[in-house]
Symmetry: C2
Subunit: 321 residues, 2 copies
């Protein structure tokens, strides 16, 4: 015990002297920060509450306080990245639109934070950050063509093309959650019909489970997983069948992108093996063998800190503003 304490104490002193990078993941509920070595080792992480007002000035204030605290503790940090749940402008200086922060329009986040923190700051969409972390240090490491899916409240996507983030014309690429798997299916919040988000996004997953299992006590996906773990066959079958629907999208993504790996994270990925079994079953049934044979479909490895770690990884990518 004393040995471990001493070892941690010495490690932290060493990490506080060498160059580290800082990543911050802004969410609607929490702000997470990660201090990471250049090799992707997580040195420390912190979580604070997102200011309830959600006003830009309050959020910048909260990120500044968190950033300054970590910069003081780890003096070797010269660069930071910030992941934002919204659309980051193409030059990555401002936030065009963020659904969780309805009053934000064209907020000059990069300049504000660079001024407050006194270091270089890079911005990127949060799902892109998640995918960058998984690609560099997680389940997608050592690949050049990766699709990342973050299945939580919504379904976010990100594309790594030949080792680089694919951003599209305006930086908005990767809205894989709004691929339609049933052109006459139920209406999604976005207005389209049959989007994959409408089947596996947490609220819809929960609603469908409540109906299909005829159990009004189901109030979150974890409840369905708990039922499945007790041996409830219908719960198990429900999770698999939702995995199969996501597998329809994965088969289409394999045909479109010819990727090496599809990495799936976010809250629903905790539904675990039955969910992934469903995905893989649908891919095997639907994707062209020549294209699908070598594609891996893997759970994300870095957990809820992936977004902050990926934000830190922004500082390592050459092409970022």
């Amino acid at each position: 015990m004393l040995y471990i304490l001493l070892k941690n104490f010495i490690s932290e002193r060493i990490y506080s002297m060498i160059e580290n990078i800082l990543g911050i993941d802004l969410g609607g509920t929490n702000i997470k920060a990660a201090v990471v070595t250049l090799e992707g080792r997580l040195v420390t992480d912190r979580t604070v509450e997102t200011p309830p007002s959600r006003e830009a000035s309050d959020v910048v204030g909260a990120i500044t306080a968190l950033g300054r605290e970590l910069l003081a503790e780890y003096p070797g940090i010269e660069r930071a990245g910030i992941g934002i749940p919204g659309l980051v402008d193409l030059d990555r200086r401002l936030i065009r639109y963020a659904p969780n922060f309805p009053n934000w329009h064209d907020v000059h986040f990069k300049d504000m934070l660079m001024k407050e923190l006194g270091i270089d700051v890079r911005l990127e969409n949060d799902v892109n950050c998640f995918a960058l972390a998984e690609h560099r240090w997680g389940a997608g490491r050592d690949t050049r063509f990766m699709i990342g899916l973050a299945v939580g409240t919504g379904v976010g996507g990100a594309i790594i093309a030949d080792g680089e983030l694919y951003r599209g014309r305006s930086g908005a690429a990767g809205e894989i959650g709004h691929m339609s798997v049933d052109m006459w299916g139920p209406r999604c919040n976005c207005g389209n019909l049959g989007c994959i988000e409408r089947y596996v996004g947490e609220q819809w997953f929960t609603m469908a489970a409540r109906e299909e299992l005829d159990d009004p006590s189901i109030d979150e996906p974890a409840r369905v997983s708990a039922l499945a773990e007790t041996g409830d066959e219908r719960a198990l079958r429900f999770i698999e069948s939702r995995g199969e629907i996501l597998g329809v999208v994965c088969a289409s993504l394999i045909h479109i992108f010819d990727p090496e790996v599809i990495v799936i994270g976010g809250g629903i990925s905790k539904a675990g093996e039955p969910f992934f079994r469903g995905i893989r079953k649908a891919v095997q049934e639907r994707a062209m063998p020549l294209m699908a044979a070598e594609v891996k479909i893997l759970p994300a490895e870095l957990g809820t800190i992936a977004g902050a770690m990926g934000a830190a990884a922004l500082t390592l990518a050459g092409d970022h503003a």
Copy 2:
């Protein structure tokens, strides 16, 4: 008249002296060749029949004869590209698989043709060639992010990402025809359910028109277009509705890729304005306005020679083997 003849005669003498590039488009029925200037002006084109045996040695012989003829007429040609209806290996030296040429497996096409023609030869998938031509010289010129769709017997796709062809892990990317728009829809030849090819590929388009219009005389898409042009409301509505189904895919592609333009060519695109009206209607109803507002959906401009011109364009791209 004499002036035009004289002008053409002089132009051809000039083009025969300056540097041109040669493109050849191998199809199941015909082999097309295009001699193109470095600026994309079509100098001449030729079409010969694909050898009925479809054996690799016969096909190489036919391409060699056609190529030698044009090399003799246009001595400035030092590079050629060949478009192949199949999967070209990642190093673009051989053909892994071509459904129209069932006996071909790992045919060393590049080396065979370089030896026969005595010039540098580059290989690429034919739909990728179509998209390269439309991107460089056709409906997608002056854009960096383009999706190309070739809707004929099958539905092929190609992705131009930041000005370059996106090829994926093994070179097979862009199989957009096998995106499912209805996960429980009718079975496609590929085995998947509800692929877009199953709705707008020529045979399926024709079959559905025959059923929906209850007209057994319909034997090709052009017949439906002819009916629509005579004012047949049901034929018009059928073409629009098939356009709408392709529009479902276009909306998903806009969400995934954030492109500047989607260029649609191939036989079905001759269904013309009603088809494009259906596509644009579905995109307007289904795609997120923030992403779709500036995306153009355009008919291809270069016609049936696009594949050969794009094969020629291969010789201009830096990254080709």
